[in-house]
């Protein structure tokens, strides 16, 4: 019996959620997703056109309940980074057995990584490259490399697929594509890999070791980028002792010097006020 926590139910996240939640070991799901289902989502999404205008989180809940009525589904119709929902998200993370990140921006991925490390929850991440030319899947466990270590090591020069920016001049209007979108087939390939990796990690959280920490699967031959299509690249990335995201003191579980991360939150406020007072007038320091 496992509690899954997932951020993102977009075109990449929803098929992962669908595949993972068909597994009988999953008995509870917490989904964090703030967006509304829009007309331009239909072409790459699992949801039917009749769902347009509804929150994706609620459509996802209905979808899962149709497949597994007994599943305990809790949705947080909010942005992962919204301070107003931070306490609810933190509470949900505290009881999670496994996490899935299907967010499409670096800020959310780094924030998710921090949450998962703080609560010692193993988690996975899938990323479809722009144009659907390939994609990454990654897995993370407490004590292993963090997302900062991985992103810093890979230094990807190809951009991860992102949905088009809405046109604020005509809300609700057709949204022109600003990047080359991935096809639903490309998204489905990476989503299936992502779901499979998640279920394997769930099966053996203590000793999981598929021989990589990040897997890149190319799906197209692209000049100066990928020499071959359908070729896997396995990366074994170790935790970096110099990583500023996960070194001691960053996650609240290990000591970090003068302002050790084991300090209480109120102590952090006092220490920060003192530091800002000192640096606000360094001539007196």
């Amino acid at each position: 019996m496992a509690h899954l926590i997932q951020v993102g139910a977009g075109s990449g996240g929803m098929p992962v959620l669908d595949l993972v939640c068909r597994d009988p070991r999953i008995h509870q799901v917490t989904l964090i997703e703030p967006d509304i289902y829009k007309p331009h989502n239909v072409v790459r999404h699992l949801f039917p056109p009749s769902g347009i205008g509804e929150p994706k989180a609620e459509l996802a809940e209905q979808w899962l309940k149709q497949i597994r009525p007994e599943l305990d589904v809790r949705v947080l119709n909010s942005d992962l980074l919204d301070p107003a929902h931070a306490a609810d998200i933190d509470t949900a993370c505290a009881t999670a057995d496994i996490g899935i990140c299907a967010a499409d921006n670096e800020q959310a991925k780094l924030h998710w990584d921090g949450l998962m490390r703080r609560h010692r929850v193993p988690w996975t991440l899938g990323e479809v490259l722009s144009g659907g030319i390939g994609g990454f899947v990654h897995w993370f466990v407490p004590g292993g490399p963090c997302y900062g270590c991985v992103a810093s090591h890979l230094q990807r020069s190809v951009t991860v697929d992102k949905p088009a920016t809405p046109d604020y001049s005509q809300p609700g209007g057709a949204t022109p594509e600003v990047t080359i979108p991935a096809s639903k087939a490309s998204i489905a390939v990476i989503a299936a890999l992502h779901a499979h990796l998640t279920l394997e990690l769930l099966a053996d959280r203590a000793a999981f070791n598929p021989g990589f920490t990040s897997l890149l699967l190319t799906m197209q031959r692209v000049r100066d980028v990928f020499d071959e299509a359908y070729r896997p690249f396995r990366f074994r990335i170790t935790r970096s002792a110099e990583c500023l995201m996960c070194r001691p003191g960053q996650d609240g579980t290990t000591s970090g010097g003068t302002h050790g991360a084991t300090s209480a939150p109120e102590d952090l406020d006092v220490a920060l006020d003192q530091a800002l007072a000192r640096l606000g007038n360094p001539g007196n320091a």
């Binding site: 919204d82 301070p83 810093s152 970090g256 920060l272």
Partner: protein
Amino acid sequence: MGLLDSEAGKRRLLTVEVPVIERYNEGRDPDYKIVLVRQAGSLLMRYRLKPTHNIYQLETRLMSSYPAVPPETRVVTPLRHCPHLLEGQTMCLWRQGSSRHTSRWDPARFTCVFAVQAAWRWLACYEIWHQTGEWPLPEAK
């Protein structure tokens, strides 16, 4: 969830950013020390740099989303319009996917003082450009 209002943000400031600023300031002429001030949900670093002949006043903003989002640096001292200068005299320092690794902001390796060093390099290029009309660093792709 921001730099100044989240536990993770405060820990990053106290264990990474504040110590490197203090190290930068240590023994430095008071006129060239970094002054750090709180401004709404962000932090503003005010400092001076003298890459070669001239002194420039700069501001580097650590936004609420820092370090996921790179710091933004603007030159307060008036400049001539030149390459790699954005609106509001903001320096063009970072680009995701850049072929130059120091131009790809990396929150796992870079601190706010790296942004100050990047600004120094940019200003050194500006002074050479001012004299020769050519930006000395090759264009990153």
